[in-house]
Symmetry: C2
Subunit: 228 residues, 2 copies
């Protein structure tokens, strides 16, 4: 087993909702870290690193997430293993990528310094390696999964208004949704249940709070659900 082998890394795409600085509308953001060595010195990259001998893939992804954001994920799932021969210009590196959702974060709860920043996925610059492709794929998985599961829950608290849930869908789908059509669509899925509580604002009439029907899986992992 002393032959040269490809290196193995674990990286994580971490999604959170944050307001667009111009429009104020919620959009999907990711934290990225600055490359401090070649290749791609100075470029932004997904957080990650080599897999150590004593941690599982999911543990490595969770650790990376905590180190980068100080947050715990509401949802963490394996995305894909990226292993094209030419994805790194020197070393051969296979990256096993996870994706995670963290609850919407406010600006001051977020680490944002010289070496870590958050970027809106609506307008990403060129990232290191094949990381733009990886983010595109993670966004596609998020959109797909939102259609048939209660994954949007991971961005929200336990209770939420229909307007808040619509805001999550708008951010993920990157387009505005008609409130009445959205209400009909989401009620047809029978995935949420009305509570008897309301939030009261200063300018609007009280809005009913909803929650997801938790008898639905957050995201169906089949036989892996009970397996780390």
């Amino acid at each position: 087993m002393n032959e040269q082998q490809p290196s193995l890394a674990v990286s994580t795409v971490i999604f959170a909702l944050r307001p667009d600085p111009v429009t104020g509308a919620a959009t999907v953001w990711i934290p990225v870290v600055r490359r401090i060595r070649e290749p791609y010195l100075g470029k932004w990259a997904l957080p990650g690193g080599p897999l150590t001998m004593n941690e599982s893939l999911a543990s490595a992804a969770s650790r990376t997430l905590e180190e980068t954001t100080g947050l715990a994920p509401q949802f963490l799932e394996q995305l894909y293993a990226f292993g094209s021969v030419d994805r790194s210009p020197e070393l051969r590196v296979v990256s096993i990528v996870y994706w995670a959702l963290v609850q919407s974060v406010t600006a001051d709860a977020v680490r944002d310094d010289e070496n870590v920043t958050w970027l809106s996925t609506d307008d990403l610059p060129e990232l290191a390696f094949d990381h733009n492709l990886i983010v595109d794929y993670a966004l596609w998985r998020l959109r797909t999964k939102m259609e048939y599961s209660r994954i949007a829950q991971a961005f929200l608290g336990e209770d939420f208004t229909l307007a808040q849930l619509r805001e999550v869908h708008e951010a993920v789908l990157q387009k505005p949704l008609d409130p009445a059509n959205f209400r009909r669509m989401i009620e047809a899925t029978k995935s949420i249940v009305a509570t008897d509580r309301h939030v009261t604002g200063t300018r609007h009439r009280p809005a009913r709070l909803y929650r997801y029907d938790t008898s639905l899986e957050l995201a169906d992992s089949g036989p892996l659900a009970t397996h780390v």
Copy 2:
């Protein structure tokens, strides 16, 4: 980069339909190879091996498939990366697993010798490592995917009768299906189109041939569809 790192292997779950030796009904089979070293010496395991420096993950999976079965896959997709710390008793090995479908094979087209055999997934013995879990997960993915894609196509020729398509569904779902209900279900999906040709048998009335609507994706891979 000289620290000890987990090893990386690529394995493949290869599904084909073969008749049950007792009932004659089509069931889902996989080829397995005998372990010729410890750990699990003598046990059956999924075909695979270390990733070499010059092949992509999918190429390694295809090569394994060809070496084991002499066949080319109709469908090949990444399943999952399995990396629990204790999944191998000595070395730390991360296995990136692919799953593949090959067209139904007849007994004499199949390599079956001391070191390679085919086993029915309806009644698997204990395999090496966590390979039973891996096969369970691949079967779950196959069943899930059959609900919303034309993946069953990969087991069939281009044209097929409704009875042949039902046989694929029965094998994958491991239960008999009522022919009239199956016809209504499959017609409701609008995924198949009738041709103007029929097959004639000796004992039955001619059966119409169908084919899948190929404007549907065989299996949707999102942004990875154009990426190896």
